[in-house]
């Protein structure tokens, strides 16, 4: 009897130990093999296609660097940041992280990221990368990220439908007035010209053409003072919706983020405004010839910039920084790896690699590469990355724009309210 109880007790203890042991190996990966400096943790977000080829690139790296072990963590964009923030709080960030322009300031300013300057030249070779591109990884003058590739804004459209609407082509150096005229012309022919513009991205573009930006350089307030700019930009967009040249806000809300339901794919709309790397997916789903046109002006050159699609960053808490830097170098400069990547994380930053992968591209991918090459000499330097608190500012802006487009308020009324809200959020986020 007594014996049996002792055995039961011993079994329980054993099971408990097992449970805690499992818990350890599950959560404690962070420090896994860091002691020998040969285990890397790498994390990114993206689609299944991205996970697949990234795994192949990692396998290739492991083959060329025997003895290096790489643990991977990936998720969708939203989930990725929900996982990363607690890891940062627990000081357990992966060695290499994919960083987004809207989050990098937050991680950099809180001391989570490594300054990569010392590695450039020695560990990470960036001789074939233009200064304009590399500088997009600077936050407050420190190189916290290496861009994985670049994108540029543009109008992506179906040339056949454009002709059907009675417009032969998008004129070079087109202006807002051309745009409004063409949109109304398309409407008269029963097709939409576009699907409105993502509020924060294109308002920032518009402000840049006027010599301002959405945030000031220090990230402490908005980057413009004159509410008339807000009224002009969002007033124009709302007007086009009201006129029926652009789908109603109901339709926009309903179909938001669903590529299959976009007017371009359904053939009821001519085009859409977005980043160049989104072109390939759009063309694939639309399954018809598509084209890219530059942004509209005046002063398009002041407005456009090479936007890093994402960065690679190294955690300041990493114990394998040299190895991490070596991996980033491999990503940027290895030809074989880039034949797997094929510009899916933006057009490669190294001009040499860009050339060498071009023959392997599909027609749509080639169009993107050409478009980005065409825009690169015209682009102006990027404004500083969005400051801490920008996620809340963007959500606030989206709220106001929705109210304007639903006709519940006017752009003129919303302009001062947005300024007050946004500045309050930004100053709240100052340390």
């Amino acid at each position: 009897m007594k014996m049996r109880k002792t055995i039961a007790l011993a079994t329980m203890v054993a099971i408990l130990l097992l449970i805690t042991a499992c818990g350890n190996s599950g959560g404690g990966n962070a420090s896994g093999g860091a002691q020998d400096g040969k285990t890397l943790r790498i994390a990114w977000w993206g689609s299944d296609a991205r996970h697949e080829y990234t795994q192949k690139v990692i396998d290739l790296y492991k083959k060329q660097n025997p003895g290096v072990n790489i643990d991977i963590e990936y998720a969708s964009f939203d989930d990725y940041w929900k996982k990363l923030a607690p890891q940062a709080a627990a000081n357990q960030l992966p060695d290499i992280m994919q960083m987004d322009i809207s989050y990098i300031s937050q991680y950099a300013k809180n001391g989570q990221l490594e300054d990569l300057k010392p590695y450039i030249g020695s560990k990470i070779k960036l001789d074939d990368v233009s200064e304009n591109v590399l500088s997009t990884g600077l936050i407050g003058g420190t190189q916290y990220g290496i861009p994985t590739g670049v994108n540029v804004l543009g109008y992506q459209y179906n040339p056949e439908l454009l002709k059907k609407a009675g417009i032969n082509e998008i004129p070079a150096n087109w202006t807002w007035d051309d745009y409004k005229k063409m949109a109304m012309q398309a409407k008269a022919k029963g097709v939409y010209f576009d699907e409105s513009m993502a509020a924060d991205i294109f308002f920032n573009y518009f402000l840049r053409t006027k010599g301002h930006s959405l945030y000031n350089a220090e990230g402490t307030a908005l980057g413009y003072e004159d509410d008339a700019l807000f009224t002009e930009f969002f007033g124009t967009l709302a007007e086009l919706i009201k006129e029926g040249a652009v789908p109603s806000q109901e339709t926009l809300s309903q179909n938001k983020g669903i590529l299959e339901e976009s007017t371009v794919v359904k053939g009821t709309g001519i085009g859409t405004w977005q980043w160049s790397n989104q072109f390939v997916a759009l063309q694939k789903v639309a399954d018809r010839p598509m084209a890219l046109a530059p942004m509209l002006g005046p002063d398009m050159e002041k407005g456009i910039y090479m936007q890093p699609s994402m960065y690679w960053s190294i955690a300041s808490s990493s114990k394998s920084k040299d190895e991490a830097a070596k991996f980033i170098d491999f990503w940027v400069n290895n030809e074989e790896a880039n034949k797997l990547i094929k510009g899916e994380r933006g057009v490669p930053i190294s001009s040499k690699i860009k050339e060498s992968v071009t023959p392997d591209l599909t027609e749509a991918e080639k169009q993107v590469f050409d478009f980005v090459s065409e825009m690169e000499p015209k682009a102006s330097p990027m404004s500083p990355p969005p400051p801490v608190g920008s996620a809340e500012v963007i959500a606030t802006l989206a709220d106001y724009v929705e109210q304007i487009n639903f006709g519940q308020t006017t752009a003129a009324e919303a302009a001062p309210k947005f300024r007050a809200d946004a500045n309050a959020i930004l100053s709240n986020n100052q340390p």
Binding site: L9, M12, I19, Q112, S248, S253, Q254, I258, A391, A395
Partner: protein
Amino acid sequence: MRNHSLKANLTGYAFISPFIIGFLAFTLIPMFISLYLSFTSYNLFSPPRWVGFNNFEKMFTGDPKYWSSVKVTLYYVFIGVPLRLTFALFVAMILNTGSKMIGTYRTIYYLPSIIGGSVAVSIMWRNIFSEQGIVNGLLMALGAAPVQWFGDPGAALSMLITLSVWQFGSSMLIFLAGLKNISPEMYEAASVDGAHPVRKFFSITLPLLSPIILFNLIMQTISAFMTFVPAYIISKGEGGPMDGTMLYSLYLFRQAFMFNNMGYASAMAWVMLIFIGVLTLILFKTSKMWVFYESEGGR
């Protein structure tokens, strides 16, 4: 002897320890940490900073979006729960008629609830009511204009409520069990006295079922207040259009994980906990007026 009982107790503790450890580590301790955090400003990156009642003050006086989420949630709960319970009772009564296929029907009607809270159903719901979905297809076939079910600020919340009504299964099963417990003799006696079905429903079924209605009402109200998945999936996590589907828990989630306002989100969670607690208490207190316990002789 004492030694022996100590050992016996130890064995007992060892057996319940997985639960105790789990409860402490994953429920109780986090709860108290969240209580502490609700009085701080905490963004996960820098250590929490004590701010006293600031979060609560902002919530009640300086955040219109908070109140709009409260309003949306109250709508969702006070319209959705009665509708769901009525529907559950209705289906339960139909299934209680003693058809031969009853087992099959029960399973079929219960199915949506098993999968109802899941992501897949929310996505399916979105697709059914999408611009080119089956519902709009039917409307167009009938010559009507398609409706932007999730694009219209007024319609989007009704879509969420409909989805919740459709997940009536668990309340239905409990109602069904309750209905089976009502003695047939009562109905027979009533028939002899010449009572018609409606009279029987209101004089026999409802009173005898009232304890079960109370149970379902409380459980469903609590779970409705905490609804998150359908609003998150259907609005793509944004609570739109025009905050029309911004349920309380979705707003809390956005504050916590989109904007990293962990302190504010914790404060929101505690206000919600207290509110649900008070509401449940009120339901219990008022239940004395309408719940009939047979065992107490109707007192």
